[in-house]
């Protein structure tokens, strides 16, 4: 059980695909302008990643090593086609909002990377957890980015249920007159992601220097004692 939790934490946080590995930025940047589209994209990626990881892990002993990449591509493309068709049927408005980025999940490096690095070498259940963890990290990243963009850019926060197209909540955080509408546009996407990366870098540098100082203090103390 503890090993399973470790797989989840490693794939979701310490190897976060967006902020640590910088993979799959196209869809993160393009669909994070509102919370609703970000959640939709994150969940679509989650379904695709869990399905492909599970299928590839189940077939890992049958797939010949020489042609594994084309086989993975076919599995991923078929899964995305299925998800795309289901979403066209049940969440038509969301599909229009996500546009071509939904089908571009096929070339999202995260999915290929997990197939090659994890699912092709591990048991089905572990691969399913890894897929869930990686996609969870993706979902968290895209939600954080969309929250910042929507709140700073419009001054309010709205969430629309993709199935019924009814507004679930719509909060006004501050007056729209003070909103910086640039943040909803593509400039805001690049700018906020850049600033977030810098903040994460600064935080991790702070933590590592703190750890180093504590270690030195401990050594100094030990030397005196």
């Amino acid at each position: 059980m503890k090993q399973k939790i470790n797989i989840f934490i490693s794939s979701a946080f310490s190897n976060n695909s967006t902020f640590v590995l910088l993979l799959g930025l196209c869809s993160i940047l393009a669909t994070s302008s509102t919370l609703s589209s970000a959640v939709g994209m994150g969940l679509a990626v989650m379904i695709v990643l869990m399905m492909t990881n599970l299928i590839i892990s189940l077939l890992r002993k049958i797939i010949p090593a020489e042609i594994r990449i084309p086989v993975y591509i076919i599995i991923i493309a078929s899964t995305v086609t299925v998800v795309d068709m289901l979403m066209k049927a049940f969440t038509p408005e969301l599909t229009i909002t996500l546009g071509v980025y939904l089908q571009l999940i096929v070339v999202n490096c995260i999915i290929m990377a997990r197939a090659e690095v994890f699912a092709s070498k591990n048991k089905p259940l572990d691969s399913l957890i890894d897929g869930f963890g990686t996609a969870f990290g993706y979902l968290i990243s895209i939600i954080v980015l969309s929250l910042l963009r929507e709140i700073i850019g419009t001054g309010s926060l709205t969430f629309v249920n993709p199935f019924t197209n009814a507004t679930v909540f719509s909060w006004t955080i501050f007056d729209a007159r003070y909103a910086i509408s640039l943040m909803v546009s593509n400039t805001g996407a690049f700018l906020i992601l850049g600033l977030l990366l810098a903040a994460i870098n600064a935080l991790s540098m702070l933590i590592s220097s703190h750890k180093k100082r504590r270690k030195e203090a401990l050594i100094a103390k030990g030397g005196q004692g």
Binding site: S27, A77, M85, V100, V106, V107, M112, L182, N186, F190
Partner: protein, 191 residues
């Protein structure tokens, strides 16, 4: 839409990287040196042109007459992957000098979303054969243009060596890109 309008809108007004976020990975990854940027940009133009022609032909000659439109995503990605592989083998055997200068970028192009996006959009927008050729060439030329501009700025920023520690690498690159998108807003009124 006129051909000139199509070229301007595909290259500048809705630039692939800056406005539509496609190809962000190679844009950030292969822009540290201008020579690499030019190599990747030219290789992308080449692959985009031929793979969109191939997928256009496949869609209109095979998939549509047989009523298999739902297979377009699977077949396009296969076409792109095998075309890239084919080009790599061909260059390695017959034009080794070009292979050496482009070689490392070719496999990267399969995972470049620009290629697949253009193949899908040519079908989605119901472009004719001429429009397909013009559209795929001008979108990838827009990629080359932005990649060169960006790598020039980046070389200069890196040589100045004044970037704060936390902003080094991808963070400052994304912020430069944000400033470039603002400059490209100027083209918005053109079409």
């Amino acid at each position: 839409m006129g051909i000139v309008t199509l070229i301007i809108s595909a290259m500048l007004v809705s630039n692939v990287v800056l406005v539509r976020f496609l190809g962000t990975c190679p844009f950030l990854g292969v822009s540290k040196k201008i020579s690499n940027a030019i190599g990747l940009g030219l290789a992308t133009i080449f692959v985009v042109f031929f793979s969109s022609l191939l997928s256009y032909g496949l869609y209109h000659l095979v998939l549509k007459p047989l009523g298999l439109e739902f297979l377009s995503l699977v077949s396009f990605i296969l076409i792109i992957a095998s075309f890239v592989q084919f080009v790599e083998m061909f260059l390695k055997k017959y034009i080794p000098s070009l292979y050496r200068s482009l070689g490392i970028y070719l496999p990267l192009i399969t995972t470049n979303c620009i290629v697949l996006a253009i193949a899908l959009e040519n079908i989605g927008n119901n472009y004719s054969l001429v429009e397909t050729i013009v559209y795929s060439l001008s979108v990838s030329a827009g990629f080359l243009l932005v990649l060169i501009l960006f790598s020039v700025i980046r070389e200069r920023i890196d040589s100045l060596n004044r970037v704060p520690q936390a902003f080094k690498g991808a963070a400052i690159a994304l912020i430069i890109t944000a400033l470039m998108t603002m400059a490209f807003f100027g083209f918005q009124g053109l079409v």
